[in-house]
């Protein structure tokens, strides 16, 4: 089984620490990549592409120094190399304008507000990972422990 990668981008280390703990239940199947700015994340994306690794999910804060989360996602969305990657915006402060942009231009897959609830967060991650696994043609049986059943059935029905 190839381990998937989950990238977390937040300029606050305390938030990265928290995400690390909240994502721990996926750690048998996923590696975590942490970045403090969108610029740093873009560098790491190059490495991931070079090594041909499976980037399944990017969890990104909105308000950061430099490029903000939505703008980062817009660029990622246009980057053909990461077509299947799931985009989760995690934020406590996004304006109405940001939100519209996030939907229309960045095509984010999910939006979670800070503070988040552990159950809801893990469930969302599980759904998004399942979608990624199906979309990119991986064998879901390898990931059965982290898969969201309902999403899997839906995906299988859709073919």
């Amino acid at each position: 089984m190839d381990k998937l990668r989950i990238m977390c981008i937040d300029d606050q280390r305390e938030v990265l620490n928290t995400l690390r703990k909240d994502l721990n239940k996926f750690s048998d199947h996923c590696f975590f990549i942490e970045c403090e700015t969108a610029d740093e994340a873009e560098e790491v994306l190059e490495e991931i592409d070079k090594c041909g690794e499976y980037l399944a999910l990017v969890i990104c804060d909105q308000v950061m120094p430099g490029k903000n989360g939505v703008d980062f996602f817009i660029d990622l969305n246009q980057d053909g190399r990461f077509g299947h990657v799931k985009k989760l915006l995690l934020t406590g402060l996004a304006t109405h304008e940001d939100t519209i942009k996030a939907i229309n231009q960045a095509h984010i897959d999910h939006y979670i507000e800070k503070p988040w609830s552990l159950k809801n967060f893990q469930h969302t991650v599980s759904i998004l990972l399942t979608e990624y696994i199906c979309d990119s043609g991986l064998d879901y049986e390898d990931y059965i422990k982290i898969i969201d059943q309902n999403t899997l059935y839906r995906k299988l029905r859709e073919g």
Binding site: E14, N17, K21, I33, E36, E40, V44, P65
Partner: protein, 447 residues
């Protein structure tokens, strides 16, 4: 219009208003005509200053017109021949007026042979002037009203913020105290039962996460190769910031030991982060309270630098991504209301932030310094923004002057005005020196 008036007025005065028996002297406050009262005279102000008032529905007085020297009063009642005064005319200072009545003997002139023809140019110009004044007054009243609404809105926001801050404070106190208690007890238990775990718990607790994500990635690569580790093992050791010599001590054991110490380290940083967050919350709350303008707070002797730090705590979110350079010297304590000064610094720094955010400068720098010299404290707030153009440097201290265009701000162009008023109330002064790339506000406060 004024030219016409200039041409006719001297002739009119000489011809019709030179009869000493038809003059009235008024003392300040004396009423010339009552509103709605009988008046068949046309008055000319020779000296002093009169004003016309009408009663408003709520029994107030509304100023209808002003009549300084060489202006006419009673124009409506005289020429419309209603002979009923539309306003109550009062002398604002000791004044003298001359008058004519309908029985006046008409002196023919090239303008015509009736009073109406002769007076028309001046009267019309007078009325036009009055109308213009009225429009201006109306406009200014509207502006004043808007400003009032804005400041009331700000004041109620301030009060609301103070209330919310108080509630939040109670919540934070509970979280902070319980975090502290849990942490002490965990530490004690670990120390008694599992010293190895305690060591990493302690590391996480006291230092938090020490390395940047970039350093962690580099360290991970290095140690993964050097010790032939699995990726997740290398990741855990890297994020803990464990030095390479120590890794050699850990490795003879097995993977479980890495997982184990990582777990205790996580426990430690959790408490560390909770304490940091509680402290941050407390700082924000006290700053909001200070800003909430509890004006009843007594002045106290304190260090002005403290108010600068409070303001910066409040602005820590908008300040992200800025290079902030602080050089605060020891200052003599002064007798102040802290909230006043938190507000001053907040306004000034916010100004810099906005100016830099509206520019395309990459390296955004804000420098704040404080020092004392010759019985004065000086504080400077400097930024490398595009600067304030010379022609508007005077304007920025006026109410409602704002360069903001949009955004989440509820700034209403009152920031610098409020700051200036506060500074003046402490007999201080504010100076601006601005050019592209270097804008400095210097505040001087006597000690």
């Amino acid at each position: 219009m004024n030219r016409m008036q200039g041409a006719d007025l001297p002739w009119l005065i000489k011809t019709y208003f030179s009869d000493p028996s038809k003059r009235i002297k008024l003392e300040k406050g004396e009423v010339l005509i009552e509103e709605g009262g009988f008046n068949d005279r046309l008055f000319l102000v020779l000296q002093g200053y009169l004003k016309g008032y009408v009663k408003t529905p709520d029994k107030g007085n509304f100023e209808l017109f002003q009549a300084p020297r060489h202006k006419f009063v009673g124009v409506y009642s005289f020429f419309s021949k209603t002979f009923i005064s539309s306003a109550r005319v009062v002398a604002e200072e000791d004044s003298e007026v001359a008058y004519i009545d309908p029985n006046i003997k008409i002196v023919p002139s090239d303008k015509g042979n009736s009073l109406f023809e002769q007076f028309m140019p001046v009267v019309v110009s007078d009325l036009a002037q009055r109308q213009q004044d009225e429009q201006k007054m109306g406009y200014e009243k509207e502006r004043a009203l808007k400003k009032l609404i804005q400041s009331e809105r700000l004041a109620s926001l301030g009060q609301m913020a103070t209330g919310i801050a108080h509630e939040l404070n109670n919540a934070i106190v509970v979280l902070e105290r319980n975090t502290h208690w849990l942490c002490e007890n965990c530490a004690q238990m670990l120390q008694n039962n599992y010293l190895e775990g305690y060591k990493y718990f302690r590391k996480g607790l006291t230092k938090g996460r020490e390395l940047s994500t970039r350093d962690i990635r580099n360290q991970k690569k290095t140690i993964k190769k050097k010790f032939s580790l699995k990726e997740d093992e290398a990741d855990k050791l890297a994020v803990m910031g464990i030095e390479e010599q120590s890794i050699e001590d850990i490795l003879p054991n097995n993977k479980e030991s890495i997982d184990d110490i990582y777990h205790y380290w996580l426990l430690g940083i959790s408490f560390h982060d909770m304490k940091v967050a509680a402290q941050l919350g407390t700082n924000v709350v006290t700053s909001v309270k200070a800003l909430g303008g509890q004006k009843s707070i007594q002045k106290e002797r304190c260090d002005l630098n403290e108010t600068i730090k409070k303001a910066l705590t409040l602005l820590s979110s908008p300040l992200r991504g800025f290079q902030l350079s602080l050089s605060l010297s020891d200052l003599p304590y002064i007798f102040i209301n802290k909230s006043d000064w938190v507000q001053v610094w907040t306004n000034l720094v916010k100004n810099s932030i906005e100016s830099l955010n509206n520019s395309d400068i990459d390296n955004k720098i804000i420098e704040i310094s404080s020092y004392s010299k010759n019985n004065n404290i000086f504080v400077t707030v400097q930024d490398n923004g595009p600067g304030i153009p010379g022609d508007i440097q005077e304007e920025i201290f006026k109410p409602n002057f704002t360069t903001k265009e949009k955004g989440l701000e509820f700034g209403l162009g009152l920031g610098l005005v409020i700051s200036e008023r506060i500074i003046r109330s402490y007999k201080g002064d504010i100076f601006l020196d601005s050019q592209p790339g270097k804008t400095i506000f210097t505040i001087k406060i006597p000690t």
